[in-house]
């Protein structure tokens, strides 16, 4: 299986690893049974994502996609973050092996899950804005 240089870079030097203690939104996606869990922390100020951090249990691609997803949304507006697709994450990483595409979907959903939590904390129903969060299928 071939990982791109960029995937290996984001795996071996992941950006934004860790937690944000006073996060405005925290999302978690996946389950240990499937082998991938991503937890995403967002700091949001005036509709702008000022900081993003993650913790991931998973394979090289899971770590790399989490890292890249946080990079892609940092400094962006919530609206832009909601437009983040797994394809954009894959593209930014110069591609992923076919069996690893699901990791990029997890990264996308982790962002949405954290934003969903943000709206819930604001007393706003996240469903119309963020949509359904897709949990990975059980195996």
């Amino acid at each position: 299986m071939m990982y791109s240089e960029k995937v290996l870079d984001h795996f071996s030097n992941p950006r934004n690893v860790g937690e944000i203690e006073d996060a405005d939104g925290v999302g978690e996606i996946g389950n240990a049974k499937c082998g991938d869990i991503m937890k995403m922390y967002l700091k949001i100020d005036n509709g702008i994502i000022t900081d993003a951090k993650f913790k991931t249990f998973g394979c090289g691609a899971a770590v790399a996609t989490s890292s890249m997803a946080t990079e892609l949304i940092k400094g962006k507006s919530i609206d832009d973050a909601l437009k983040l697709t797994n394809d954009a994450v894959v593209e930014a990483l110069d591609g992923l092996p076919a069996v690893k595409i699901h990791c990029s979907v997890l990264a996308e959903q982790a962002v949405r899950s954290a934003l969903s939590d943000y709206y819930t904390r604001q007393g706003i129903d996240p469903l119309p804005i963020v949509g359904e969060i897709k949990e990975p299928e059980e195996h």
Partner: protein, 396 residues
């Protein structure tokens, strides 16, 4: 700490040894005859193939006429199982017994036969990765065509009670095949003494090249031909012999099966040092029985981390290892072997297999034992599963 390169994945494959290569090389450019040709160049090739056959037979306690060269262990398994199935189906016997934690070459062959109308019983293994021979006895029926149980497991290295299983099969008059790909060269094998009817082996696990294997078939068992064509391999497996590979296998098995006990005496304490060193990391467990295992194999689950990440981190540190995680298998399920011994999915995802040989140095072991805890700590720091474990929360 200076970076080293350490190959600790000999259960995956091995390097062709210089000694093996040196006997192979002349067969590419000088002694290149077709073993079926009448002139001396051909006759010499034939003689070398037969000498290799004698060496394989000697290593197993078999007769050379009972050895058939194949292209790999998987081919040998396929031939033995499908061949026996075809042969016995004619006698109305369409039941096969195997174990849940066989190599896929056996499991997928059995699954294929199920689709062809055969019935397969999958014997469970205990938490230490061992099969109870009595379970085999209890599974044997009037219509049982074959029992196929691996000699040593490829992931956790556990050595099965082959002699006892073979004795039960003999008593019940059922044919017994064993996939000994991981065992040959590491444990003493004597097919006659142990009552083995068929045995698969592979060259590249014992320092021969990839793409060559053999199947031992006890005299009196007439398997259907695998490849129809010329008269090679007594017409059972046609196709021009891969003379360099076969010659290499002969030399490799001769070397591998000399001093098995001495080599085990060297490698076992090294292996144990690695086991004890890695088990010092909290939340780890050894998979498979500690004693009834291949001398160079260790398989440890490290909770809170995922196997592929661990392998990539080890690779960055120059260590080649293997895992039972889903991500390394290309599927989403973790190793069927680790699940079969009762590991939970999330624990099976974080397993590490090292397979070493006697040439590993004390400095190599020092290095491995320095790198692994650091890498584990780093991965656990970024793992939400580890965080949950430490907070006493349930891991789903």
């Amino acid at each position: 700490m200076e970076k080293r390169f350490i190959y600790a994945d000999n259960a995956a494959t091995t390097a062709v040894s210089e000694e093996v290569l040196s006997v192979m090389l002349p067969h590419f450019t000088k002694a290149y005859g077709n073993a079926s040709s009448i002139y001396k160049l051909g006759r010499d090739a034939q003689a070398d193939v037969e000498m290799a056959r004698e060496k394989v037979a000697a290593a197993l306690g078999a007769d050379p006429k009972e050895i058939f060269f194949t292209s790999c262990g998987s081919e040998s398994d396929n031939w033995a199982i499908k061949g026996t199935a075809e042969m016995m189906a004619k006698k109305g016997k369409k039941h096969i017994i195997t174990s849940v934690f066989e190599h896929h070459a056996v499991l997928h062959t059995c699954e294929y036969l199920e689709k062809q109308g055969f019935e397969v019983t999958y014997i469970p293994v205990d938490s230490k990765g061992l099969i109870n021979p009595e379970d085999v006895r209890n599974a044997i029926r009037e219509d049982t065509a074959l029992v196929t149980i691996m000699y040593a497991n490829n992931e956790i290295g556990t050595i099965q009670p082959i002699e006892e299983i073979a004795a039960i099969c003999r008593e019940k008059k059922v044919l017994f095949h064993t996939d000994a790909v991981q065992a040959v060269g590491h444990v003493e094998i004597d097919v006659k003494k142990q009552g083995i009817d068929m045995l698969s082996l592979s060259g590249h696990k014992i320092h021969a090249q990839k793409g060559v294997g053999a199947l031992y078939v006890r005299k009196g068992i007439v398997l259907p031909n695998l490849i129809h064509g010329g008269g090679q391999e007594r017409s059972k497996r046609a196709g021009t012999e891969n003379v360099p590979a076969i010659v290499g296998l002969g030399r490799a098995i001769e070397i591998a099966c000399t001093d098995i006990a001495e080599k085990a005496a060297i490698v076992t304490p090294k292996r144990n040092r690695l086991i004890d060193g890695i088990l010092e990391i909290p939340y780890t467990r050894l998979n498979g029985d500690r004693d009834k295992r291949l001398p160079g194999n260790l398989n440890i689950s490290i909770e809170g981390i995922e196997g592929e990440s661990l392998l990539l981190m080890l690779d960055l540190n120059g260590i080649c290892a293997s895992s039972g995680s889903a991500c390394t298998s290309g599927s989403l399920d973790p190793s069927h072997v680790l699940l079969s011994i009762g590991l939970k999915h999330e624990v099976a995802h974080g397993s590490l297999r090292l397979s070493i040989e006697e040439d590993i140095t004390d400095e190599d072991i020092d290095y491995i034992l320095e790198v692994i805890p650091k890498v584990v700590e780093r991965l656990r720091e970024m793992s939400p599963v580890w965080e949950k474990m430490m907070n006493g929360e349930e891991v789903k």
